[in-house]
């Protein structure tokens, strides 16, 4: 699997990802710094000397080119994205790294859910084609596909957080709000479901179609003919090949979950990258905005690289 060729390919991809990330962060840096005004424009400082000191602290008194050079050398040599403009003294890189792990927690669970439920629904629908089970599964996935994740999130919150509370008299319900940095085990499933459900629908549709195709193949009939139990035929023979087209959408899917988390984290108050993203834009904390863009660009690139490497595991015919 890991031949010399594929290692070289991976190396090339990593270099490309680094370049893309630097390009994105340069673009955002220049874009943000070309905006009129600065982060301190709203502060009513009477003392011009205090403003000058702060401007100097953030290098904002230098020419744009020097600012850019300083920013880039700090980023490349030390991985340092600078300091928050609003919360003085807060270093951005450790902050975003911590938030990225929170996002990864929620996104990882969502991804597991997406693939698990999507494949399960798709397989069941394909095996029970044209029965009521198929129709329920297919309709569910069409609904999931057409519903934005914040709509699903709001419905889940109303159902589990409000109605369930009223019905059970407060004995059993979803606690709206997020405890601590990483939340509790009971709080994770609802945002993960809201984040993954639209994509689970897509996976289910794809799995169903490709499964229907596969179970008509001769080798599946052979497997049945030699008397293998249906469960084995479906999981070992049909599903493995049916999954190959499904794997190809994993890339867009991971990207979708990463961007979807921006919305979901804001709804559920999860202190991850997505929440920081929106907060920093609304607060005009431009240094964090640049940092988050840099992080996202790198993250999406790396996630897609991992997915591409996964292809070779699932389909040994694919080589790089």
């Amino acid at each position: 699997m890991l031949t010399r060729g594929s290692l070289i390919y991976m190396g090339q991809r990593v270099v490309l990802i680094l370049f893309t990330t630097l390009a994105v962060s340069s673009l955002v840096f220049l874009g943000v710094h070309s905006l009129p005004g600065n982060a301190f424009i709203s502060e009513h400082r009477i003392n011009p000397q205090a403003i000058a000191e702060i401007m100097h602290h953030y290098n904002l008194d230098l020419p744009l080119w020097d600012q850019y050079r300083l920013f880039m050398s700090n980023l490349i040599l030390h991985g340092n994205l600078g300091e928050s403009v609003i919360n003085r003294g807060v270093q951005i890189t450790p902050l975003l790294l911590r938030e990225a792990t929170v996002s990864a927690e929620v996104g990882g669970v969502a991804l597991l859910f997406t693939v698990g439920v999507g494949v399960l629904l798709g397989v069941i629908a394909a095996i029970k084609q044209n029965t009521w089970i198929d129709y329920v599964a297919t309709t569910t996935s069409v609904i999931g596909f057409s519903m934005p994740n914040f709509v699903i999130a709001s419905m889940l919150l109303v159902f589990f957080g409000v109605w369930l509370y009223n019905w059970t008299g407060g004995a059993f319900y979803y606690d709206i709000g997020w405890n601590g940095t990483y939340g509790t085990l009971g709080q994770l499933p609802v945002p993960a479901f809201a984040l993954g459900f639209p994509y689970a629908s897509i996976v289910a549709r794809l799995t169903r179609a490709s499964m229907l195709e596969t179970i008509k193949q001769d080798y599946v009939r052979t497997a049945r003919a030699k008397g293998l139990p249906s469960r084995i035929v479906i999981t070992r023979h049909a599903l493995r090949n049916a999954l190959i087209p499904v794997v190809t959408i994993l890339g867009p899917l991971v990207t979708g979950i990463i961007t979807g988390s921006v919305v979901i984290e804001n709804i559920f108050g999860i202190p991850g990258l997505g929440k920081e993203f929106v907060t920093s834009i609304l607060n005009r904390d431009y240094n964090i905005v640049i940092g988050v863009f840099t992080f996202y660009a790198g993250l999406v690139g790396l996630a897609n690289l991992v997915v591409d490497m996964l292809y070779t595991v699932i389909d040994p015919r694919i080589r790089y």
């Binding site: 874009g31 070309s34 905006l35 069409v142 057409s146 957080g161 409000v162 919305v263 929106v278």
Partner: protein, 289 residues
């Protein structure tokens, strides 16, 4: 031709085989679309949303920025009226974006598909670069840099969603330019612009329409996302996304404030998706039903 079932119409027989009535592609497509009940319901629903949006330009049950006695949101504003104006915003974004996308996609896609060569290489590379960056990031950056007017949001969404259309049109161009009728036109001395716009484009129109129909709900959804995050249309304007975001503050007491725009949004998106599915089936000339 309306005939009782089982009664053969003598005019339809040519020799021993049944000849099909001569119909144009569009008449054929329209006939097939009408048979698709789901697509028909979707069309009626879209028509209804359109009607509501148009009426709300001139009249709403209550002024949308002031208090009313009907069900209201947490600021005491009439939900129904705001939903109606929200429909207006959603449709403007959806259709506006697709007009930009179709125009740009056709121009870029046909150029790449017809002329091929270096031009195609450059365009395809740009398309791939745009595919590589998550669209939410591009849109947010553009909103950050351009500002938050409705027109700017339409431009931002179009900038993140033109690639599908361009790629589709490019593929159509590549396929159609090799066909006999294009060769005949070229042999007849037609100029490149005439071949592109009179011969290739009309034949690529079906897939373009389908793609644009799917693009409308995607754009509406995108705008709702942005507004939901507080980065879309400016707050007092009642976008469905920002209405839902506002309602979250009062979720425990009045869940209907969130559910009303959420439902409107979901139904509209679903209707466009069903219509797209129906159009795709209807415009496929291989399906003779």
């Amino acid at each position: 031709m309306a005939l009782a079932p089982g009664v053969a119409n003598p005019q339809e027989y040519v020799g021993d085989t049944v000849a099909r009535e001569q119909t144009s592609l569009w008449a054929d497509a329209w006939r097939r679309l009408r048979r698709n009940r789901l697509a028909l319901v979707a069309t009626v629903f879209i028509g209804f949303v359109l009607l509501v949006a148009i009426i709300s330009v001139f009249w709403t049950p209550y002024p949308i920025y002031r208090e009313s006695v009907a069900p209201t949101d947490q600021a005491g504003r009439d939900i129904l009226s705001r939903l109606a104006v929200g429909a207006q915003i959603s449709l403007e974004v959806g259709v506006g974006t697709q007009i930009l996308v179709v125009a740009f996609g056709i121009l870029v896609g046909l150029t790449a598909g017809y002329y091929r060569g270096i031009l195609d290489g450059v365009i395809s590379t740009v398309i791939n670069i745009f595919y590589g960056i998550p669209s939410l990031l591009v849109a947010l950056l553009m909103v950050l840099l351009l500002g938050r007017g409705l027109d700017k949001i339409i431009i931002a969404i179009a900038a993140t969603s033109w690639m599908d259309m361009a790629r589709l049109v490019r593929g159509q161009g590549l396929a159609l330019r090799e066909r006999e009728f294009v060769e005949a036109a070229r042999a007849g001395g037609a100029k490149a612009s005439r071949i592109i716009f009179r011969h290739i484009l009309p034949n690529a129109l079906g897939p373009i329409i389908v793609q644009a129909t799917f693009g409308v709900p995607a754009a509406i959804l995108f705008e709702a996302f942005l507004s939901f995050l507080g980065l879309g249309v400016q707050p007092p304007a009642p976008s469905w996304g920002s209405m839902a975001a506002d309602g979250f503050q009062a979720l425990r007491l009045a869940p209907h404030i969130v559910l009303a725009p959420a439902l409107a949004l979901s139904l509209t998106l679903m209707a466009f998706n069903f219509l797209g599915d129906g159009l795709r089936d209807a415009l496929d000339p291989r399906q003779k039903r």
